[in-house]
Amino acid sequence: MKILAELRAQGRAQDMQALVDHLPYARFLGIRVDRKGNEITTVLPFSDHLVGNVMLRALHGGAIGAFLEITATIELLFVTACERLPKTVDISIDYLRSARAVETYGRAVVTRHGRRVANVRAEIWQEERTKPVAAAHGHFLMNPV
């Protein structure tokens, strides 16, 4: 993928915000990346177009799933230099609480890292880190540099 090679050439291989800005669907969702040292937190600011239930002002399950998937992918790209974006093989999402009309945060951990496949767990929360609104685990095919 061109953007990954360009960032690498510029010595910005870990600039995940630049990557996210380059992905139309991540821009559509409004995802930001907050980096503190070697830790990445993804941020999904609330926006009306993410709502799935107007009566409850709850986020759409699909927006939550996509945010988890992008959080997992970004973590994977942050810890592993890849030629292309990882391909999702499968993802399993647990919906734990209603996601309200506020900012949402995400963290992911690469639990196993093989030559071709990585296992990643991701969790998202809103006001309280200890009360996740959803969690996911998935397998991703990679093309390491």
Partner: protein, 142 residues
């Protein structure tokens, strides 16, 4: 299958923002279409739409299938418990995406749904999913 005159997806902001359209529903099934659009692209090099779009349409179609009973289109409040998606192949750019969902079992508490996302040929899926929904929740989720 019966067509609704008003598309319930038009009243769901995120579904409308993605461009989801109800094709048909009834008898615990539904078909939802997503026209190809630039803002759905996940990889600008290839123009392939993002997996998250497929997640969103599988989730929404699965929920709609639960509510597509022969005797009425609206059931009790419900919440998605889990959604598991297998991705078989990338979607091809510039083609509409279809999702067919079937609620194949409902118990007092739980609805079980499977769904397939495809483009030209249902037998050549892009992704398949299974989902469970908790029925009759006090606090319904999207």
């Amino acid at each position: 299958m019966t067509d609704d005159l008003t598309d319930p997806l038009a009243h769901i902001p995120h579904a409308a923002a993605i461009g989801m359209q109800l094709v048909s529903r009834g008898n615990h099934r539904c078909v939802v279409r997503v026209p190809y659009a630039a803002h759905l692209v996940g990889d600008p090099d290839t123009g392939v739409i993002h997996g998250g779009v497929i997640t969103a349409v599988l989730d929404n179609a699965s929920g709609l299938a639960v509510r597509s009973t022969p005797d009425g289109v609206d059931g009790p409040p419900m919440a998605t418990l889990d959604l598991r998606i297998d991705y078989m192949r990338p979607a091809e750019p510039n083609k509409d995406l279809y999702t067919e969902a079937e609620c194949y079992r409902t118990t007092v508490n739980i609805a079980f749904v499977r769904a397939t996302a495809y483009q030209d040929d249902r037998a050549d899926p892009i992704a398949t999913s299974v989902a469970t929904f908790m029925l009759g929740t006090a606090e319904a989720r999207a």
